[in-house]
């Protein structure tokens, strides 16, 4: 699977995250969060795992976190990638 075009998923409402993916030559994550930096590593881990499960090795991933739990992050990243692949 690959990121062929820009796509978005999610919202900036509390407990959600907004994900935007665009094509790119390498895999780069841009995380913006409103919670403590203590969660930054965990969020990045979840995003990278989700991308790996989907076979994504390149692209620009922008994520604005509003306190989303792991399952929400996974769901939003997956949906954004699927939309970008279609």
């Amino acid at each position: 699977m690959e990121i062929k075009k820009q796509a978005v998923c999610g919202t900036i409402q509390s407990n959600d995250c907004f994900v935007r993916v665009t094509p790119g030559e390498e895999l780069m994550l841009h995380l913006e969060r409103t919670v403590l930096d203590a969660f930054g590593e965990q969020i990045e881990k979840v995003v990278r795992e989700t991308l790996a499960d989907l076979g994504i090795t390149k692209g620009q991933i922008f994520l604005e976190d509003k306190g989303a739990l792991d399952y929400t992050i996974r769901a939003r990243v997956e949906t954004a990638v699927m939309r970008a692949n279609g």
Binding site: D70, Y71, A75, R83
Partner: protein, 273 residues
Amino acid sequence: MLTSADVLGADTLVFDLEDAVSLQEKDAARTLVREALSFLSFTDSEVTVRINPVDSPYWKEDLSVIVPAKPQGIVIPKATASSVRLVEEEVMKLEKRHGIENPLFFILIVESAFGLFDLKSTLEASSRIEGLILGGEDFTSDMGVKRTAGSHELLFARYQIATAAKAYGLDAIDTPYTDIENMEGLKEDTHFSKSIGFTGRLAINPRQVEPIHEVFSPTALEIEEAHAILLEAEEAEKKGLGVFSYKGKMVDLPVIKRAEKTMASARKWGLVR
């Protein structure tokens, strides 16, 4: 709301992929619900998912994503005999493919004139059906009548649903009370639901859960009386009596059965052990 759903006190949660989700977000909603089912623990509530109707392009994909996540049940909107059979066929394929041993149950939403008229066929379409819901808003829309505060336009449908559910041993779940600011109106209308045989009601706001529970659970007095009648019935049986008197009133088999149902309801609501 997904994350906090289990603490809201509802007996059954319905995660909605249908009317609550815009057409552009159907894919996002089913993925989010799938992930929630896999990640969250639901200890106090049953979990069901309302799929899109079978005349939409979404229902098969809804099932293919959701069934493997193992909700306990599926809520089928605009239920008719043919839609129930179609959904069951698809669910069975998915259960087999994914090795799901506990079959998912169905709750049907009846929300059209034809759906109400053909209830018997619909209820006989599957042995998985455990509950029947009246979809009041869509029903009145289908009938071309106005929805009113007094809900008289739903009277026939409500009686029909409650009676059919009883006939087939199902839960009868009344349509939501849509004025979420009016708690007194909700209680009054829910008392009516209970009086005609409904066993529960849909809540569309967490604040509605407790008032609905209050109406449907037996009172302390009802529980005390039921318990006393059952004790007396036990004694009567030992003496070989089929009928006896309790507080000056005749107690026969129907009264005993009603007392047993009251105690079962009290146990179900956690009011007695």
